[in-house]
């Protein structure tokens, strides 16, 4: 990030590069110093840069601005007073039990989703990597939930996990009462299991790719030394795919922070009693439905800071220094 696009600070010195190939006089040399050897590159990238500025950079700054102001919706072009309120939005958000609960729910989500995803996708990827037949079929089978819209599969899950749904029919007397999605204890875990199921295909692929980088010689050497299969799995495979595991941890955290569709549709808007609400769901309810974008922006800012901290801790703990 040390190079900047700004050209003001560059002092062109005509004598600096007299031997540069293809240099066409001092004028051309100066332009080259300002814009680089192929200024066309900047032109070709302009649409993308404008897009990033418009859709990422500006809204990001805007979100921080909103979170410190008593922001409200007004007709386009209307001049309205939106006073600076300092940390008031943050105070309100952090003292709201519903918001606290939604962050706690993300915690529950991560506690279930992360270990399940890491263990199951690594086991399935390792098995898939060693077999010869039916690889394509199995890979496609694992992957189908990932490419399908949440909205579509949510319908089946409601059907499967309803009071007299198939899951409860099979469980019989063991079925929880009230049923999964309307049970305060089970609503969030059911969502976590849904998301794990839906996303796992992607992580299996990620691990499958990582496994290609684990050298066969390591296994052969270990076998010569008399190591068992299980020992090899923990001493060679697990450390070998560590970069992928770091990525899984990071992506699971981001997914948890982004939860919206599942609580909105599976549990009818974070029910029962907010037991499955998520921060983004509350952002939607407060920001759009109740017209308090400042509050919603404050939740968003806290969320992003939380994600960054968690990601940092995870990277330290997982010991991967891949950026």
């Amino acid at each position: 990030m040390s190079t900047t696009v700004s050209s003001g600070s560059v002092t062109p010195s005509p004598a600096a590069r007299p031997t540069q190939p293809g240099g066409g006089g001092p004028r051309r040399g100066r332009r080259r110093q300002l814009l680089g050897r192929n200024p066309l590159g900047l032109l070709l990238s302009a649409p993308y840069l404008i897009f990033v500025l418009l859709v990422f950079a500006y809204p990001l700054v805007f979100a921080f601005y909103m979170s410190f102001h008593d922001y409200f919706f007004a007709a386009p072009g209307a001049v309205v007073d939106r006073p600076f309120v300092g940390l008031a939005n943050f105070q309100e958000v952090l003292s709201d039990p519903a918001v606290i609960r939604s962050f706690g729910n993300v915690g529950i989500f991560l506690l279930i989703n992360v270990p399940l995803t890491v263990v199951l996708s690594l086991v399935l990827a390792t098995a898939l990597n060693k077999i010869v037949h039916a690889r394509t079929f199995l890979r496609v089978a694992f992957y189908v939930p990932y490419v399908t819209a949440s909205v579509a599969v949510v319908g089946v899950w409601i059907f499967l996990f309803s009071g007299n749904g198939l899951v409860n029919q099979i469980l019989g007397p063991l079925a929880p009462d009230p049923a999964w999605l309307i049970n305060e204890q089970w609503a969030m875990p059911t969502i976590a299991i849904f998301v794990t199921w839906k996303g796992m295909g992607f992580f299996i692929l990620l691990y499958l790719a990582a496994l290609q980088n684990v050298s066969d010689e390591l296994y052969e050497a270990a076998a010569t030394d008399g190591a068992g299969k299980i020992r090899m799995f923990f001493s060679i495979t697990v450390p070998g795919v560590r970069p992928a595991t770091v990525l899984v941890l990071l992506l699971a955290t981001v997914t948890g922070a982004n939860l919206f569709t599942e609580p909105y549709l599976l549990t009818g808007g974070g029910g029962p009693n907010g037991a499955s609400s998520s921060p983004v769901l509350i952002m939607y309810q407060r920001g759009i439905e109740q017209g308090e974008p400042g509050i919603a922006a404050a939740i968003g800012v806290i969320l992003v800071i939380g994600v960054l901290i968690l990601a940092f801790i995870q990277r330290k703990l997982a010991g991967g220094d891949e950026s």
Partner: protein, 310 residues
């Protein structure tokens, strides 16, 4: 993280995998009894996994064809006495399925078009040209992929729906997704594999930069096109939150949004709500699942590289 972002790794994966398969094959010939048992165990685990992943889809189809919902274990098997196409007619009378599919298609198509046109240009510029700001642009591209879209939801809504007046329009739907950064990285990777000497030779022959781009670079990147299209397609086709925020008019809603609205608002009034929901779900899921099965070979490489966005 670098590995997953790097499509070179991904592109190499396909080859690595065939090599691996060969290796596994030679090994398979030398199996002794013990590892045969292990192999059987592997298949058992994998097929149980496949069953868990596929069963809900099977159940979706079965459920969408039932006259009355049968949640018992017997209901998981097709019963000729309880089969009907009526659910598809029902859901179509509540939400216009065809219109929903068309809207989803326009949304996804717009995103794909912008991504391909502008993505090729940036990809080429990043891989083969030297210009001031190239490093910054590349860093931005990686950064953009980890910014949670949901944080931007509120400001984007204010900007696009209120300031620009793009609510209830395809443009408003497409704008935040217009250029898929992962796709740009895939293009960049393809251009990196082209030797610089090829372009230098064209320059020495006196071809202008635009001529080089049009006649040399773009034809070379054609193999990446299908991968990019498929990769980009998943996002908008399945996206719910943003089009849900920006479209209130039913005739403009993508199918995912109108189906979700049906699920939350009007399902209770239907004769067989589950059947109708599942019928809609089948219609929404089918194009993506079919495309994926046909082109699954192209998904392997590309999806690894989509790692960061998740």
């Amino acid at each position: 993280m670098k590995n997953a972002q790097d499509p070179a790794v991904a592109a190499g994966l396909a080859n690595a995998e065939t090599a691996r398969t060969k290796k596994v094959r030679t090994k398979a010939r030398q199996v002794d009894g013990m590892s045969r048992n292990q192999n059987i165990l592997r298949y058992v685990v994998l097929f149980i996994g496949a069953l868990v992943f596929l069963f809900p889809f099977y159940y979706m189809v079965i459920g969408s064809l039932q006259t009355t919902p049968d949640p018992t274990v017997a209901g998981a098997f097709p019963n000729p006495a309880n089969i009907t196409g009526q659910n598809y007619v029902d859901i179509n009378s509540r939400i216009n399925l065809l219109q929903g599919l068309v809207n989803s298609g326009i949304f996804a198509g717009g995103v794909i078009l912008c991504t391909v046109v502008f993505g090729v240009l940036v990809g080429y510029a990043l891989a083969q040209l030297e210009w001031r700001g190239r490093g910054v642009t590349f860093s931005l591209m990686l950064l953009v992929q980890v910014v949670p879209f949901q944080l931007l939801m509120i400001p984007l809504y204010v900007m696009i729906a209120r300031d620009y007046g793009l609510a209830d329009s395809y443009a408003g739907m497409i704008l935040p997704f217009a250029i898929n950064s992962t796709a740009v990285l895939v293009f960049r990777q393809y251009f990196l594999q082209v030797p610089k000497a090829l372009f230098d030779a064209a320059r020495i022959d006196g071809a202008g930069e635009l001529k080089i781009l049009w006649s040399i670079a773009i034809p070379l990147v054609r193999p990446a096109l299908l991968t990019v299209v498929l990769l980009t397609f998943i996002g908008p086709w399945n996206e719910f939150l943003w089009p849900f925020l920006i479209t209130k008019e039913a005739s403009l809603q993508p199918l995912a949004v109108s189906l979700a609205n049906y699920l939350t608002n009007i399902a209770a009034t239907a004769a067989n709500p589950f059947g109708a929901i599942l019928a809609g779900a089948c219609v929404l899921a089918a194009p993506m699942v079919i495309l994926f099965i046909i082109f699954q070979r192209h998904f392997v490489a590309s999806d690894i590289s989509s790692g960061v966005k998740g």
